[in-house]
């Protein structure tokens, strides 16, 4: 469960990115975050895995206020959150297999279990035959599937995706959405910031619309609702 109360966020350069957020998201929900560029969508998601700390307000994730996490606790907290970006953020010198395995090496899984689990997620995202490739040898859609595989491999309770289809063509985007829905079906909460009207309107989920750092609309089975 995610619960934000009276969250304000001002960047060091004085830009006010969030202006009093109040929101509750239950475990297992699928939420789109929409809004124009600069509305604060990315900042919102960054608060959830302690990439940023709010200037004011509380951010509770799984009943723990993460704004007061000690610096040393952050890595351990993050292991329960999967993160996917539009630029994939894969380790360029590691193979597909090694990129995903990394998330499990960090939690000191046994090599045997790592093998099994990595092969499992690769199967799930349909990249078993590309395990030995490095990211540069893959298409954008394939790289994004690797990023998703890495985010889901240790069964996080929340998966945060910031414009996961931002760099992909429509066809590939639908493929990514299918995988995200599958992950959601297994009980993982999904938060997805997006600019894709087609996706939001076609796959109906809860929609949180932001404007100037505030939530201006919050509907279940909502519409994208903006003219581009």
């Amino acid at each position: 469960m995610i619960e934000m109360q009276e969250v304000y966020m001002t960047y060091p350069n004085g830009v006010v990115a969030l202006n009093g957020l109040n929101v509750t998201i239950e475990q297992g929900e699928f939420v789109y975050i929409v809004g124009q560029s600069g509305a604060g969508k990315s900042t919102f998601t960054k608060l959830l895995f302690r990439e940023e700390i709010p200037t004011r307000g509380s951010v509770e994730v799984n009943n723990k206020d993460i704004t007061s996490l000690k610096w040393k606790e952050v890595p351990f907290f993050r292991r329960n959150i999967g993160v996917v970006y539009q630029d994939f953020r894969l380790l360029p010198r590691l193979t597909v297999y090694e990129n995903i395995a990394f998330a499990l090496e960090v939690i000191e899984e046994s090599p045997k279990s790592i093998r099994k689990r990595v092969m499992n997620v690769l199967e799930q995202v349909g990249l078993k035959n590309k395990a030995r490739f490095i990211p540069d040898e893959l298409s954008g859609g394939e790289q994004q599937r690797v990023a998703i595989a890495r985010a889901m491999v240790n069964h996080p309770s929340i998966l945060i995706a910031d414009e996961p289809t931002g760099n992909l063509d429509p066809e590939t985007s639908w493929e990514i959405m299918r995988i995200l829905e599958e992950i959601n079906a297994s009980g993982t909460t999904i938060l997805m910031a997006t600019h894709s009207r087609e996706i939001v309107n076609a796959i109906k989920k809860r929609v949180i619309a932001m404007e100037d750092g505030m939530i201006v609309r919050d509907e279940h089975r909502g519409e994208y609702g903006y003219e581009v």
């Binding site: 895995f49 890595p75 292991r79 953020r89 010198r93 998330a103 046994s110």
Partner: protein, 297 residues
């Protein structure tokens, strides 16, 4: 930490070392240069120290007895010396023996001078050795107080000068070694920093996935260690071969019979271990220093 994790860190560190190509070669070169210089200094310093302590061992007190002393006086003196604490040995040398020694030490010239034809100008003497060489001065002073002792000498200036020289050599050596090591650390941390700039993004990604700082640091630790160990191979070879050659050709040095350098074994082994140790420390320090900045997030 699990063994499999440790294995992973070593694999990762080795792989990065390999992949960094020219940067690795540059770092190894810096360590190699440093360690060759440090190694030569160490060999010199340790041998100087060794020679000094050998000489120190040889320091002995020569107490000259007045010509008027009777046998009973000599017995009394010996008894008195024996009563002093910290005496290792006492030997009595007659003036005739002293003359023999002197003539011998001068070789053919000595014969030529015809010293035996003149009246023997030397004194009988007691040769006293202290168990602790540093006690020599005190013991000499006590002996000097005894009756019928004409003069005491123990090559004080000679030994003091040597110790002074040694101390200077050691201090200069340590300063130089320190400066060299520091320079090498600086060079390494800078070369690694260049490769890390490229890896800055990677470190960010690792943190995103929940890697702790130590987890990220480990492969760098391994990489630094590898750089240091690789950099110490050539210096060790140079020192071992060079020192072996030196010990095999000490005939030149043996002319001065006070020069006794350390035996090849175990000295060569010890110096090799010291060099590897310094190399690894330089590498690890340089590497961890350069990664430090990127972990502060």
């Amino acid at each position: 930490m699990k063994f499999s994790t440790l294995k992973r860190h070593f694999k990762e560190g080795a792989r990065n070392t390999w992949r960094n190509g020219w940067m690795t070669i540059a770092s190894v070169g810096a360590v190699t240069t440093t360690l060759i210089l440090v190694g030569v200094f160490l060999v010199l310093m340790l041998n100087l120290n060794h020679i000094a302590s050998e000489l120190e061992e040889d320091v002995q007190i020569k107490a000259l007895v007045e010509l008027t002393a009777e046998q009973s006086d000599l017995d009394q003196i010996e008894e008195n010396i024996n009563d002093i604490s910290g005496i290792e040995s006492i030997n009595f040398v007659t003036k005739e023996e002293e003359l023999d020694n002197l003539v011998d030490s001068m070789g053919e010239q000595g014969q030529a001078w015809g010293l035996y034809e003149q009246e023997n100008p030397l004194n009988d003497a007691f040769i006293v050795k202290a168990s602790d060489p540093l006690e020599t001065e005190r013991i000499a002073a006590e002996i000097e107080e005894f009756d019928f002792i004409y003069r005491v000498n123990y090559g004080q200036e000679y030994v003091d000068t040597l110790f002074k020289f040694n101390e200077y050599a050691r201090n200069i050596g340590l300063v130089l070694i320190g400066a060299l090591v520091f320079t090498a650390i600086f060079l390494i941390s800078n070369t690694i920093k260049i490769t890390i700039l490229a890896r800055k993004k990677e470190i960010g990604i690792m943190k995103l996935v929940g890697a702790t700082n130590n987890f990220i640091r480990w492969p760098f630790f391994v990489e630094g260690m590898l750089l240091g160990v690789l950099g110490s191979l050539l210096p060790i070879a140079v020192i071992i071969v060079g020192y072996y050659f030196l010990t095999q050709n000490v005939t030149i040095l043996q002319q001065f019979d006070f020069v006794k350098i350390l035996d090849f074994y175990p000295f060569a082994l010890q110096i090799s271990l010291i060099i590897v140790g310094i190399g690894a420390s330089i590498g690890v320090w340089g590497s961890l220093m350069s990664v430090r900045k990127f972990l502060k997030v």
